[in-house]
C-alpha cells in the first residue's frame, strides 16, 4: 500500500503546474485583446474597427472557455492522474491564437 501512496503524492505537482501554464497563457491572450481594443479605439473607431475589436473579444472568450474546461479537467484528478489534452482542444487553442493574429493584421492595416 505504500507504493501507490508515494505515487499519488506526485512531488513534481504536474497538474498544478499545467493549470498555472493555462492561466499564464490566458493572461497573455488578455494582454493581446487589450492591445487590440487600444489599436481599434486609438486610430478612430470606425464600424469595421469596432466589429474587428468585438471579434477579438469573442476569440478571447473562446480561448477562456477552452482554458476553463481544461483547468476543470485538471483539478478533478482521478486515480492515475488527469487525462491528457485532446487534439480537439489543442487545435481550438491554437486556432483562437491564429484568428487573433488575423484580426490584428486587419486592425494594423
Amino acid at each position: 500500500m505504500t507504493e501507490p501512496d508515494r505515487d499519488s503524492r506526485d512531488p513534481g505537482l504536474q497538474p498544478e503546474r499545467t493549470r498555472l501554464a493555462w492561466r499564464r497563457t490566458t493572461l497573455a491572450g488578455t494582454v493581446v485583446a487589450v492591445l487590440a481594443a487600444r489599436t481599434a479605439l486609438q486610430s478612430g473607431p470606425t464600424a469595421a474597427r469596432v466589429l474587428t475589436c468585438a471579434l477579438c473579444a469573442a476569440l478571447w472568450l473562446g480561448f477562456l472557455t477552452v482554458a476553463h474546461h481544461r483547468i476543470r479537467t485538471l483539478t478533478t484528478v482521478g486515480s492515475g492522474g488527469p487525462p491528457a489534452l485532446t487534439p480537439k482542444h489543442a487545435t481550438a487553442a491554437a486556432g483562437y491564437t491564429m484568428a487573433l493574429a488575423v484580426c490584428a493584421a486587419a486592425l494594423v492595416l
Binding site: Q14, T18, P87, A101
Partner: protein
C-alpha cells in the same frame, strides 16, 4: 509534406491518437502540454509585439511600421501552427515509444527575432527622422 497533412488530420480526430500504442505516464503528457502552452504564449507575445510596433512607433514611416507589424503577426501565426503540430507529433511519438521529434523551428525563430531586433535598432538609430 504528406506527413504534415497526416498530422493535420490528427489535430481534428481526437480518438485516432488514442488508437496508437500505449498511454504514456500522465506526467509526460502534461509536460508536453506545458511545452505546447509555452509556444502558444510565444505566439501571443509575437502578436502583442505586432500591436506594439503599430501603436508605440507612430513616428515611423507607414511602410516600415506596417511591414514590421505584419512580419511579427505572421511569425505569431506560424508559431501557433507549429505549436499544435509539434504537440501532436510528440504525443504520438510518446505513445509509440519512439524518440521525440527534432525540429529546426526554434533555431529559425531565434534567427528571425534576432534580425527583427537588429532592424529595430537600425530604425531607431538612423531612420527616426525619415
Amino acid at each position: 509534406m504528406i506527413e504534415f497533412v497526416r498530422n493535420v488530420r490528427l489535430w481534428f480526430a481526437p480518438g485516432r491518437i488514442r488508437e496508437d500504442g500505449a498511454t504514456p505516464d500522465y506526467r509526460f503528457s502534461l509536460a508536453n502540454e506545458r511545452t505546447f502552452l509555452a509556444w502558444l504564449r510565444t505566439a501571443l507575445a509575437l502578436i502583442g509585439g505586432g500591436f506594439a510596433v503599430d501603436q508605440f512607433l507612430p513616428d515611423l514611416r507607414w511602410g516600415w511600421r506596417v511591414g514590421l507589424a505584419l512580419g511579427l503577426l505572421g511569425a505569431g501565426v506560424l508559431c501557433s501552427l507549429r505549436a499544435v503540430n509539434h504537440w501532436v507529433r510528440c504525443e504520438r511519438a510518446m505513445r509509440r515509444g519512439e524518440d521525440l521529434p527534432v525540429s529546426r523551428f526554434p533555431a529559425l525563430l531565434s534567427i528571425v527575432i534576432a534580425i527583427v531586433a537588429v532592424a529595430m535598432v537600425m530604425v531607431v538609430l538612423f531612420g527616426w527622422e525619415g
